[in-house]
Amino acid sequence: MDAQIKKGILEMCILKKLSEDDYYGYTLMQEMRKLFADVNDSTFYAILRRLNSEGKAECYLGGESLGPKRKYYRITDLGAQSLNSLIDDWKKLENIIREIGIK
């Protein structure tokens, strides 16, 4: 898949995943890799960091019986708004593509 197309989709997919549940970073990356096998985990991580810095996602330390505490991510209100906006854009794009005749 083209990198430019993928870039926007990845953010939407990560926000969608976070809207369903809170995720430990590693687990989220593994889930995403099932969908995007050719993308490195570092790419997902970078998007997570950006979402976090933009206030669309936030992280908190979760309890672990062994080892260091794990960093969990959850979506914020801003992230939820951004997700809705991305989904709207995606649907519009989908309609345009369908009207052109690409199925």
């Binding site: 890799r33 570092s42 970078a46 960091r49």
Partner: protein, 276 residues
């Protein structure tokens, strides 16, 4: 293998312009990731394959998180650096040339001529794009080498090499060509060296090479003004005045420096101007 991976990742991040806290945070996340992957029975080879090479990892983080912060910080630093330098230079220059008894100029003979030539040449490299903008390291190294070279040269000239002083004494030119550092100048030199060291450590090694370069040139400019001031205060003759800068010429250079700074700011630090 993972230690090597983390070490390489750290090196790439150090040159990316991230803050220490961000680098620490990213490395902590990487350690946590590797530990969890190992707990999930993944081999080191698989882990590194999943994460991508250290360079890819650092590039991903840079591409998505650094640009915004970096632009802001660099711009802020440019503004601060420029305002400080311009203020210092204006006050210093006005003070230097406002004395009525400073009408005699002593050219700083070969060393200063050489220093200025080197500085001008290095500035011209960028003015006419001889050195590609991507080769910013070359420029900074060049500036550093010139600065170190001139500092060493000036140190020998002004603090005095025995032979040099002896020759000057024989020719009865000691006062003119080997003035002794007074306390104030010595403090200034020490401050400059401290600033250089600080800027080198915090800027150069953190990837803020452009800012370091500009700081280096700013220091050079002040250093040159100091030398001229020193030379003027110790001057006794006008024999070689035709070789020296007049105050008017110096004002033109100062104006050129200010415009270079403005040019750099307008372009968000994405270009080079003559600050020498």
């Amino acid at each position: 293998m993972t230690n090597k991976y983390l070490s390489q990742l750290k090196n790439h991040l150090l040159w990316s312009g991230l803050s220490d806290d961000e680098i620490y945070d990213i490395l902590s996340d990487a350690v946590s990731y590797i530990k969890t992957a190992k707990d999930n029975c993944k081999s080191e080879k698989e882990i590194i394959s999943d994460l991508g090479t250290p360079k890819e990892f650092a590039s991903s983080v840079k591409a998505t998180t650094i640009e915004r912060n970096r632009k802001f910080n660099i711009r802020k630093l440019y503004m601060l650096t420029a305002v400080i330098w311009i203020m210092i230079l204006i006050v210093y220059t006005l003070n230097t040339f406002s004395h009525t008894d400073s009408s005699k100029y002593l050219p700083s003979i070969v060393p200063i001529s050489l220093l200025l030539c080197l500085w001008f040449i290095s500035g011209n490299f960028y003015l006419i794009n001889v050195i590609n903008i991507q080769k910013i390291n070359v420029w900074c190294i060049l500036q550093s080498v010139i600065f170190i070279f001139s500092s060493i040269l000036m140190y020998f000239i002004y603090s005095g090499v025995d032979k040099y002083l002896h020759i000057l004494a024989e020719k009865n030119m000691l006062d003119r060509f080997a003035p002794v550092f007074n306390g104030g100048v010595a403090v200034c030199v020490l401050i400059i060296l401290a600033v250089i060291l600080y800027s080198f450590v915090t800027c150069c090694f953190r990837g803020e090479l452009l800012n370091f370069g500009i700081l280096c040139q700013g220091i050079g400019l002040l250093y040159t003004v100091m030398l001229y001031r020193n030379a003027i205060y110790n001057s006794v003759g006008l024999e070689m005045q035709h070789l020296s800068f007049s105050p008017k010429m110096y004002y033109i250079c100062l104006a050129a420096g200010i415009f270079s700074y403005i040019h750099i700011f307008i372009n968000n630090g994405k270009c080079y101007g003559r600050t020498d």
